[in-house]
Amino acid sequence: MLEWLDAVIQGVLLGGLYALFAIGLSITYGVMRVVNIGHGDFLVLAAYLALWPVMQFHLHPFLAIVPVAALMFVFGYFLQRVLLNRTIGPNPLAPLLATFGLAIILRNGLQQIFHSDSRSFQIGQLGTDSIPVGGGIAIGVFPSIVFAVAIALTVLVSLLFTKTSIGVALRATSDDAETAGLMGIRARHTYGIALAISFALIAVGGVFAGVRTTFTPESGPSALLFAFEAVVIGGMGSLWGTFMGAVILGVAQTVGAKIAIGIGILAGHLVFLAVLFFKPTGLFARTL
């Protein structure tokens, strides 16, 4: 019995990492109604960007997150302004194809520079420390940090959406972009901000993922898949819904792996498919 409880707890904590993958995707979908196919590959890019100061200057990986997130924020904004805004229009396939193309370019580029060797970030003792909570269950310190950061960033993003004028503009654009234009909201700019926030969040997720396991230039698609599953389970375009979707996905994976080693990821897919089948709008559907 307790070992199942243990699996659930580990799953909830894993869900924190998936939330960091997914919330950015949820925001860009919510605001632009476009799925960024390159989401996972940009997450991997952020991890490789962090690799440089960590290797070169022995910067702690957690500290490397700050400049990389800032850089990714700026990069996201300009990518949207310069390239992706041009693809937004009546044809919903255009942005999909554009981000798909970018993903391939990025993946091959990383392959050229870093080859297929798997990389990871070392955080020493902190990576393996855990706190026993009784009954043979121990809670990992690092997964708890990730979970706490995920909650903190979700709170921060929802405050941004409710308390700042750019946040309210993002929600208005999400509701009705045409009418938002009548109010003077420049969609080109709000879309840029949406991708910027998304990219800053995946920078955090990318580094944490690299601490938890390893990454290669090929890691992008599975990160996109987990993010996408979390968003769909939670309900497209809702922040806390996405967070809950990520937790449900994490629990499905760890409990699945408990049932039989090797079917964890499959169990996540099955929960995703079940939600898609029985409640296609997601469990907590709402707009931003």
Partner: protein, 233 residues
């Protein structure tokens, strides 16, 4: 202040407006009438920048705004209450109003001024805009448009889906807005209301203006002929 000349508008292959001329004087109140599909909304959307139009077709305060998109037109002082209100559904009443101020034009229309104009909204400021009655939603839509401190307010079918009593209330507000120096264009299906409130009326049919003039100068027969396309006399 608004001078429209030979305005043409299309939706793809379909031509919706065929050379419209409309003038709105400073402080004026103009009503556009016409049957369903006559092109009234298309005209307002063209002026507001939601539908592209040719350079030179639309001049506002002697500036050519024909080629500008909506988010720039509102910065120049043209604001729209769209057909069907189009409130932001995940925003509260107050957030809807605040979004209206996004164009960054200062002036007398602040949150306080809107609440003074529509006291019913102040009590419901934290409610979702969607939880309000149709009449109150229309007040939010008008208030939101005023928050940009426009020189010209475009109102598309304020009476849509509202009871006659509520429509009457809404129309008693317009003179108060006008008294603050805002020029107004209303699209109105109800001919009597249009003739009562406006000082100039334009009748649209099949994308053309079939009649224009001051209500006092127009006979009922002229108006119905222009409205329904029936030959008068």
């Amino acid at each position: 202040m608004l001078n429209v000349r030979n305005l043409v508008a299309r939706y793809g292959q379909f031509q919706a407006l065929f050379g419209i001329d409309v003038d709105v004087a400073k402080g004026g109140m103009v009503a556009l009438i016409g049957a369903n599909g006559a092109g009234k909304s298309t005209f307002l959307k063209s002026v507001a920048g939601q539908i592209p139009s040719k350079t030179g077709a639309i001049r506002f305060n002697d500036v050519d705004i024909g080629a500008l998109p909506a988010e720039e037109v509102v910065r120049r002082g043209v604001s729209m209450v769209p057909e069907g209100r189009r409130l932001f559904r995940s925003l509260t009443v107050e957030e809807n109003l605040k979004v209206g101020a996004f164009a960054g034009r200062s002036g007398r229309w602040t949150l306080q001024a809107i609440y003074a104009l529509f006291p019913a909204l102040e009590e419901r400021r934290s409610n979702s805009a969607m939880a309000l009655s149709g009449g109150q939603q229309q007040m939010v839509a008008i208030g939101r448009a005023l928050m940009s401190n426009p020189d010209l307010l475009l109102c598309d079918e304020l009476s849509l889906g509202l009871s006659p009593a509520v429509v009457k209330d809404i129309y008693t507000i317009l003179p108060r807005i006008r008294a603050e120096g805002v020029s107004i264009v209303v699209v109105e299906q109800d001919i009597d209301t249009a003739l009562r409130v406006a000082d100039q009326v334009y009748c649209f049919m099949h994308g053309r203006v079939t009649l224009k003039g001051a209500p006092a100068d127009l006979t009922k027969e002229q108006v119905s002929a222009a409205y329904f396309g029936i030959e008068g006399h």
